[in-house]
Amino acid sequence: MIKLHLPSRASLWCAVALSATVLGFGTATVWAEPDKTQTQTQVHGANGALLPRDSKDAAVFRGGLVYANYCVTCHGINADGNGRAARLHTPRPANLRASDKNDAYIGLIVRKGGEPLGRSTGMPPWAEELTDEQIGDVVAFVRSVNAQSHSR
């Protein structure tokens, strides 16, 4: 069973839709079955089998939920840096689909925010808010939508 911090049903289904859309870009299709408490989600593969918690597809799915809740405001539903709050920031939020950064660097930016890395101060540090697993998951999600990853 995969435990997630889900603040609302709306966020969950927004993320489910987002993940389904984005995962069409990748290699697998997954679907989620929220339980009655709305605090746990089982992630199933295309054949209906429960995905192992430590599988890449499960991480990407969980990362989609994290992304839809915390990142989408600035980076946008398409992860292209065109979220509704993007206009507040100069430079604009990163287009994650076109990013050339590796997983470790993306994880560092998520954890520490942009400023310590000499990047935008608009990117908050998320280490206080997200667990290590959530940060790893959102990095997996970003990797899954990254065009350069798919062109390799």
Binding site: Y70, A85, G113, T121
Partner: protein, 106 residues
Amino acid sequence: MKTLNLIALAAVLACGSALASQEHVVAQKDKSFSTKKLDIKVGDKVAFRNDDGFSHNIFSLTDAMPFDLGTYGSGQLKTVTFSKAGKFEIECAIHPDMRMVVNVAP
């Protein structure tokens, strides 16, 4: 005499301005704003004070006067002067469930 009159006029205007504008404080505690709705007037200031033990990032996308206070930590406050009338929806970029409304009357 003329100079004295100008000084007196400036003092009156300054006092009037000070009396007209007020400063309000909205705290952020337990990932919530201390109030869900605040009614103020144009020219009033609102200090957004972080009483939590972690960072917040207050912003508004209201067309009349969008703003972003950036990320700031525990015990800090940042102040916004609302120079335009309207309904301002205030959010936190780090905690998406944090929302409040500031109604600014002309």
